[in-house]
Each structure stands twice: as structure tokens, then as C-alpha cells.
Symmetry: C2
Subunit: 467 residues, 2 copies
Amino acid sequence: MRAFKTPVSTFVARRNALHATIRTPALLAAGALRARNYPANGYPFRASSHFLYLVGAALPSAVLWLSDGKSTLFIEPEEPGADLWDGPKPSFDSLRETLGMDQVRDLSELESAIEAQRNSIATLPTQDAASCELLSRCLGRQIQPGSGASLKDGAPDAALADAMIALRLRHDDAALEQLRWAASVTAQAHLAGMRATRTARSETEIFGAMMGVLRTAGHEDSFGPIVSKNGEVLHNIRHDNALADGDLVLADVGGETPEGWAGDITRVWPVSGTFSPTQRAIYDVVLAAQCKAIERVRIGVRYRDIHETAKRVMVQGVRDLGIFRGEVDGLLERGAAAIFFPHGIGHLLGLDVHDMEDLGDRAGYAAGRTRSKAFGDCYLRLDRDLEPRMAVTIEPGFYQVPAILASPAYTAAVGNDLRRDVLAKYADVRGIRIEDDVVVTQGDPEVLTKEVPKTAEEVEAIVQSGR
Amino acid sequence: MRAFKTPVSTFVARRNALHATIRTPALLAAGALRARNYPANGYPFRASSHFLYLVGAALPSAVLWLSDGKSTLFIEPEEPGADLWDGPKPSFDSLRETLGMDQVRDLSELESAIEAQRNSIATLPTQDAASCELLSRCLGRQIQPGSGASLKDGAPDAALADAMIALRLRHDDAALEQLRWAASVTAQAHLAGMRATRTARSETEIFGAMMGVLRTAGHEDSFGPIVSKNGEVLHNIRHDNALADGDLVLADVGGETPEGWAGDITRVWPVSGTFSPTQRAIYDVVLAAQCKAIERVRIGVRYRDIHETAKRVMVQGVRDLGIFRGEVDGLLERGAAAIFFPHGIGHLLGLDVHDMEDLGDRAGYAAGRTRSKAFGDCYLRLDRDLEPRMAVTIEPGFYQVPAILASPAYTAAVGNDLRRDVLAKYADVRGIRIEDDVVVTQGDPEVLTKEVPKTAEEVEAIVQSGR
């Protein structure tokens, strides 16, 4: 598979677009390497998404300085003798050219270079303590590792965040190319996972087949992969269970391109190669909800309404199976959807798999909109009217979560209209989620992840072909 | 491949052995989860090796408290509602039993529980800022993320470090079982990498094949994998070069078992399936040095002497090819070995791939021994007399590092006895290293990594079989 590389002109254009909208200078840190078990043994470096968006290169400890329409990159100078171990590094001049910067300078000059503007500089959250220390020192105020909760309306940091959000919400052509690539590699990983299943004795073997495909394409993980027969554990990070015919495998896995863009696909398939009738029935309900939701991905549509559509299709389908009793409208009002579908229909997708979640709900929620207080709906990560070139996931699910089903807090309002005797017949369905990556266009949405099969028959055929 | 799990009795025995040697209470942090691009998207959690050695479970933010012969584990309580997303967690009581602890308690009780002994508590370095903050608060003194440089002889932390080193230097049966497993999985990864080479167009594809094997076995990376045709860049973390016949691939990759134990193998193989005569000649020199060095791995032998043996075989071999001129003794005295072999012959292997490097040279260097000042020798990570059950790597190499060959600082002493005209014929050899994992026993050393081929013919046969 070919690799895609964003041209330097795109990064220059992105920086210029930001320059045009911000009124204060800005300082954005790439982030620092982090030690794993000892200092020389670090985690793979992942630069901040804001930095990657504007610079395109993962340079540990680098800082981008935007002021007066000029872009200056401050980087760590090469340590004496480092070329013995790391090979020759590009010179400041050659980096300036490759990255289209106005200047590249030594990081040790940063503090004095920006001192005069120190009280008016905006910045955005970084995730590591060392970068926060550097920023705190440069800006003369406390910068905490964080989630954007510290962004206060009206403050320079919030204005910078809003400017970045405005840019990053609508993906440019290069961004869409990266997202298509991430989606395509992720789709290949799912196909490999399906094909590895019939001979796999444990989740780990399916996981390994999928990871092999991602790494072969040069992709990292865009998030901690989920490959589990316990699909009802939503944040499951283990994949060491033995598998048996009758189990379903839920795989929620995403590749990340070398420039940092995310894929994110969920599929569920039967270990035996064939869904049981009960599994198939629920699968088709989730699939119907997912397809209906994707159809609704159009310019101007409010994303929350798509969430509501999926909830309605789910409740209708589950009622038609006899698990709920009563009118769909009434069931929805009483919170029936969240009993089996307790999360949101999806999220923004971009350089982060939950794009710009480091800015809190500022990116996901339009001005004036806030999270619902209702169980289920409160986990909706996106409530904006869709705009062209936005990328979102669409991922309804059905889960039998013991902590939900056992708790009157979540089920009392539905009461006996949740027919537990009927539900008991579906005991072999622990968790089913179907997720695609979708781009809003002028017409029908562009489904980036359509390479990976979705109907029950298609999925079964791929699993069976792996024998 | 079957998975290996250390019984709880081993962890109890390790803790009891530590209790028997320390004179102060000790507080050991597992370490905290670290955010990757936003707080909910973290790096895969890797607990501190000291914690893993004594507890065996990777519990984020947990702290082990050792006092008066009792072991107490303080852990974060479950957040309300976390079971909705993470599934049910084991109760404190069930954890106490599974982990063989005297007590399991809520982390919020830690400070008051240890307050009375606060001024006499020892601890060891941790790598993340959050754990350092917690330890600093509990101990009433500044604990920095670190490399053991802060361990001062005579202080309680240094005594605790020495006690841990005494324990961890000689591996117990369970540790050896984990190391054998890591070595075996790592060997399978190298075989897969070799087999993937003839059809691979880039380093990434070989890398992906190797990662697939590690993950399929449930292993993480014990360090940032090196898979490169530029073997002369010793700390090479890129693997995106195109490959062509004539290139050599250097793969230095290690698996890490779920309990945290490391494998570490380097092999070099020809992309074409056949070494050129010049590549083969150098390969055989490195192989001879490596085999001779492994033979010397015996109880009581000083590891530095094995390093010297390898240097001598290397210089002799390179001289026999005509690249050096003169007597081997004289060449060695003038620093000839480091021109092509600028690193140490290996390192301790255990829970860290450079075992206990977080304690600085305290683990690697016997009391009274210090690093050499000579280029090359100064990078030797281990200078102890070998003891039974120690695990070490043996990994000589030959590299044409431009920054070394171009610098009189490294080459002047050898002067014209480095015959650059002869060396020029070996331009297709950029870097060759051969590395195995070896355990010191009563008799011949146990080579954990012997499953992966090593002679040039064996390596060629595997590469060719992948066509």
C-alpha cells in the first residue's frame, strides 16, 4: 500500500490561516519524550495534535512560536556526539526549508525571544509535565497538563483554542487524504482479524494479526485497541481470553498515520464463522440503526438528531424482538435506549480519534450547547450542526452490561416493559457495535471505511474464508 | 504458544526476601497512566519494574508498602460507575488473596497509614511526575523522576536499591521461565522478519511481520524496535526506508511478556537472500567475536573481560581482512576496536531490557568499579563478576559510522594503520550486530535465543525460504 505525505505548502497554509484569525502571539509545544521503565527507554513519541496539524513533524521538545504573521520553530540543538548514535540530523537551515518556517532557532533562545510579549501569549494544553513546566516558565503563569477544562471564555487561550477548532473542524484536502489512508489501513486490519479467527485459540491471536497489518503499513494505534469476546465491557483493554465457537469477537481498532491522523472501526464477528439466530437478530438491529444514522450525515443536520435517530431505530428493533414492550416514543422517553446503548452515536475524527478532546467539549459542542444530564445521552461527545469536510464516526451498539441491567437507577423507568424473560434468550449476545468513519460532503456522506464488510453475511463469508 | 504465569508464591517469596534484608520501611510506586494526545487516550500502562518484580500485576497508581515484614498494597478505589465501562473489578479482599498481600487498602489512606514512619522510609526512582508528587508528599522530601543519579551511598534509598539489586541480579526460576518465554517469542519474530524480507519493499513490512508475532503472543516491545538497513545508526527508530538487493537489514527487537520480562535479539540478514562476499567476510568476524564471547560467559568471569575478548577477536578479524595493519595488541592499545565497535558487549537483562538501568550504574557496576574514560569502553553497561542465574546479552557489532570515521578524535591514534583503501571495498557493510540472551549457569551458558539462526548460511536459508 502506498504511503501519503502532506506537502509543506499545506502546513504553511494552515499556519497562515491561523495567523489570520488570532490576535495574540501563540506558543504551541510538541510535547516531550516520556520514559517508560527507565529514562533511555521511552514510549514511542507522539507529538501534540495541534503541533502536528501546523508543523507536520514529530520533533520532541520543539515549540512553535506564532507572532506577527511569522512562524518560528524552536528545537533542541543536537547534543555533542549524538550523531554517533542517531545519525546526522538536518541543520536548522534545512529544517527551515523542509518545514516552510520563517525561522528555526535553538530552544535555549526561546525565553528571551518571546520575553517582550510574555503577558499576551496564548497556548493550548499539553499532556506532559516537562512541556507544561517549559510553558509555565515562558509565559509566567501556571500551565497544567490537561483536558481543556482550564480554558476560560474570553481568555487568550480560549480564543486560540476556538481558532484551532475552526480550522480543524473542516478538514482540508491533505487531512482527508490522511483520514482515507488511516481508514483504509484500519479496514485491512479488520479483514485480517476476521480471517485469523477460525484458527485463533485466543483473542490475542486476532489482535496480533490486526497489529501486524497496521505496523506493516507504518501505522501506530490511534487508541488502545479493543479486541474482545467481552464486548459489553466498553473500555476493555485486555485481549487474552480463550475463544470458543458461540463467542462473538468485538474489535474496535484504529490505525494512526505517521503524520498522526486516526482511523477508527468497530466490527463484530462470530468465532464459529456463523452468527447464532439470536446474535444475528441483534446484529441486524444494530446494523439498521447504523445505516440509518449514516444516511442522515448531511450538511446542516444536528449530530444530536442522528444520535436520536439511532436510539429510535435501536429501541424499535429491540421492541420488535419482544425485549421491550410498549410504544417506541414512550420507551424512548423513559430512557429505554440507554439500557442497551449507553453511549453516544460517535465523535469527531481527525488527528485525535476523539478529535480535539484535549480542549474539552469546546470542540465537540457548539456554543450554547451543553451535555445532557440523562444517562446515555450524557456521553454524547458531539453536538454540532454538521459542516462540509467534518469527519465523524457513527457507532451504535447493543450491550448487556451487568452493572446497568442490575441497577434500578437505569431500568426502573422502563420497569416490566423490559421483558427479562425474552432477554434471557439473547444471553449469547454480550456486546455488538458497528462503527464507520464518515465525512460530511455536499451530497451523500463519504464512508471512508466501506472496504470492511458490514452485513452479517459479508462478515461471515470473510471469517469463513480464513479457515 | 503457551503463556507462562508466575505463581503468587513467587511474589510472596520475593517480598519476604526483601523484607529480610531491608532495615527501613519501603514505599514502591507502580507509576501512573500517562496521557498520549489527550487524557483519556493514554500510552499502554507499564508498571515500574521493581513493582512488577514484587507484585506481578500492573495496577496503575498502586503503591506497595513494606514495613515490619508486612506487605500492604494501596490501590485506587473504583470510581462510581466505572464498572459500567471497565467491567467489575476484583474486591480488595479478592486482590489480597490473588496477590498474596497482608492487606489491600484504599490509596486515600496511604498518607495517614505511613505518617508515623515518614522520616525513615526508603523509595526508588519512578518515571512519571504524578507518582513522584505522591511519593514526595508521603515522604516529605523531594522525589524526582529519574535515573538513580540521586541515590547517595549510605542513604536509605541507596540501601533499598542495593537490596533490590541483590535480589534481581540472580534470577529465580519464575524469572528464568519468563526470560525464556520472551526470548522464544522474540526468536519467532526474527524468523518471521527474515521470511517476510524477500517480498518486502520496505523496512516497514519486515517490522510489521515481527510486530505481528510479538502481539500474537501477547507481548509488548521491551524497547523501541530497530529494523533498518542503516544499521550504522545505532539508535535508529525509523523503519520506513525502501529496500533493495544489496542492502542488509539489521533487526534489534525484543518482546516483553505480560509480566514485564524482556527479550532482546539482534540479527542481520541480506535483502537478496545472499550476503555479498564483503558482507559475509565482516559477518563472520562479528559472529566469531560473538561466539567466543558467549563461550566465556561463566560463573566468576568478569564481564569486562568478555568485552575485551570480543574487542580482540574483532580487531584480529578486521586486521586479517587487511582493514587494519599491525599487531593486534598495539591496535587494541591505540583504540582500534572502538572505531568499528564503539559500544559495550552487552548488558544485564531482566524486567528491563537494560536491567535496573533506572538505578544508574549501581546495578551494572560492582562496588568500586566505574566506567572507563576511553571511547567505546565508556559505553560498557556492565562490569561485574558473573554470578549464577544472571542474564546478560552478548552483542558485538561492526559499523561504519561516518561521524567516527571522519573524526581524528577517534581515528588519529590508529593513523594510517586504518587502511581506508581496503575499507572502501566494504562499502556495502553499514552495520552488523549479532545479539543473543545468555544465562550464567554452573556449566556452559544457557543461550535463551538459540532458536533463531545465526550462521550466515542458516540466515540465508531462512530468508530464501520466504520467497
